[in-house]
Symmetry: C2
Subunit: 386 residues, 2 copies
């Protein structure tokens, strides 16, 4: 292997790829990244892979001699990050031993490498269903749902985000059993394509691990908003491809719960209020709620048009706040987990929002008039005794 | 207790004071801060004290009823930090129980308090030696030395910074046995005073714990540079007083080593070089040096006028850098701990610096021509076998 490439480009690619390198892997080789220099393409590819999530970044390089090598991810990344970008870096392997030599403007570095053939192969999705998405839409779908998936590994399929394609629409769904976030994207799903076997994407669904999608959201944040993301998937594996990057992820097995039946369609009470005012009040009350069980109580009636929010942390203290709202329905008393409320409030794009409910023990909905057809955040109330 | 005060002022004071609150104290009361409202002074004092370091902040308050109370530092600080600053906060104790009530613009908070008499008394230095220092000078003295003190509690007096007053001069000194930093302040020591018993500050010295002085440096960073800091000390206790704040600290016992004898006065070799170029090169080499023993080797001769810096981390890799220098003396080969070098280089105020040495096993000095009389950083070389 022998090549010249830009320090800036290499550093950026290493930062991306390192997100898929396990910090304490079960197999030592997974501490490494794979470098693949291709003279024909004039390209250096870098791959990080933890057996579940894989990230590949390609950068232009003038490759004199093709070659593949595995290098310790962290050490190599640290060295490159500190080098000068005044002149291109030269990277080559010394034939005498298994060392890679990096030559920069001011110095020379040698790093012990590992034979590339030990590094596990990154899965490739062949003949999968292709879907095209705009970066902006996909980011929005992920941000609106990722937080609501379960952290409990025992809950298997609920540890992921469910992507449901219905023709030209994409529904992103996540739930941990206590709350459910559903975002429907009607724009930016630019091509519900047909694969080579003629199977269309109509009514196809896939559930991907939250961790993979969190990294995808991070990587896409740096993309132009209209960047075209191609999603390919088949049983067991999904692959997102855009500009010079590829992210592959295993899929989660199992049948995703039929969440649509859980969402009430009629509501006896509605609170219309300012989103930011509610966030600020909840964040204050959360300081004390956090000292016991995170429960906050809402009391509201149509006469005062005030929402009273309170919490009581026994032996420690108590808090109460009130905000002006527009209330419709019979007097309301209901309690929620304050963190669940805050999570949902933070992803609603509108400033005037609605809380819709029926009783203190049936699901409530957070939404906005503008978004009512597209975003639904369902939250189960907490039972309280007075 | 009943008072009105500004949320902004209270929040700022609580942030200062919380630095002296132990996170996992041996005695539970030390988790708390003391609030003292004084109607006559129109002042609220807040005290944090971990039995070694104490910080007091005073803020203006319209006090209707004087009183003293202890409150959980973290919880009270978090509540205040989130409250609105639109209107003054009202703080009062409810006579019915041991709760403090905070009323803000939008809500009401109650926090369980602890009787103030359990809270340990903050030591007061009476009839101590008073010295006046400018904030700017004291900060400079602390930054140039704090890093060189020992972290090893067994080294007792070396875990502190030694302050030596010689008439109108202050010498700040720290050493951990491997390196020694000495900064002499000739400006900004505005008053080597006389105490009430007529004892002057000539040739007085005190050694204070690094932790206390780190907090002092932090607190002073927010001060105007010419702010007048009064230092009072006697056996066992020192007290820094400025504007609305006081920091008290126990002193370290023992006799500080006579460091002056350790500093060579003649040198066989000198390297004159650009400080930033050396820092950048060392930081690069440090990535690999850090993988083994932090040792970097310097090789230099007067013919090439190049300083070669290298390190070798067995089985992992190696690194070498070179920078242009001005060298005088017989060819040099010497090794150092790279972190010790970087620590010293980062506090030298000049851009052209000097490394002075005699042999590969005798102390070297980092200094600058402009500062040679005021700042000395001595560093012991590391023995290497070739």
């Amino acid at each position: 292997m022998k090549l010249l490439c830009s320090q800036t480009e290499l550093h950026k690619s290493l930062q991306f790829v390192s997100r898929a390198v396990a910090t304490r892997p079960t197999i030592p080789i997974l501490n490494n990244i794979l470098l693949n220099a291709d003279a024909r393409k004039g390209q250096l590819s870098i791959i990080g892979f933890d057996l579940s999530l894989g990230i590949q970044a390609n950068l232009p390089a003038s490759v004199e001699e093709s070659g593949t090598v595995a290098l310790p991810s962290r050490l190599f990344g640290e060295i490159i990050s500190k080098l000068s970008d005044e002149t291109p870096l030269s990277i080559s392997n010394l034939n005498s031993n298994n060392q890679i030599e990096i030559n920069s403007f001011s110095g020379t570095y040698q790093v012990s490498s590992i034979p590339a053939d030990i590094f596990p192969k990154l899965p490739v999705v062949e003949n999968g269903i292709p879907i095209r998405l705009e970066a902006e839409s996909l980011i929005r779908g992920l941000r609106a749902t990722l937080f609501a998936s379960s952290n409990d590994e025992a809950k298997q399929i609920l540890t992921g985000v469910h992507l449901q394609f219905n023709g030209q629409e994409l529904e992103c769904v996540a739930t941990d059993g206590h709350r459910l976030a559903v975002l429907r994207l009607t724009h930016g799903v630019t091509d519900a394509g047909v694969n080579e076997s003629g199977v269309t994407t109509e009514n196809y669904a896939v559930t991907l691990p939250t961790r993979s999608l969190k990294e995808l959201e991070r990587l896409l944040s740096g993309c132009p908003s209209k960047e075209d993301i191609k999603l390919l998937y088949n049983e067991g594996q999904a692959m997102f491809i855009w500009s010079n990057q590829t992210l592959t992820s295993r899929t989660l097995e199992g049948i995703y719960p039929s969440y649509q039946n859980l969402i009430p369609t009629h509501f006896a009470q509605s609170i219309t209020l300012d989103r930011k005012a509610l966030i600020v009040a909840l964040e204050r009350v959360a300081v004390l709620a956090g000292k016991s069980n995170n429960i906050v109580k809402f009391i509201c009636d149509s006469e005062s048009n005030k929402l009273y929010i309170s919490t009581d942390a026994q032996d420690i203290g108590s808090a109460s706040e009130s905000i002006t709202v527009d209330f419709n329905g019979a007097p309301l008393q209901i309690a929620f987990n304050v963190q669940y409320l805050l999570d949902g409030l933070k992803v609603i794009a509108d400033e005037i929002i609605q809380i819709l409910c029926n009783a203190s023990d049936t699901p409530a909905i957070l939404t906005s008039q503008a978004e009512v057809r597209n975003f639904t955040y369902l939250i189960m109330p907490v039972q309280i005794r007075d």
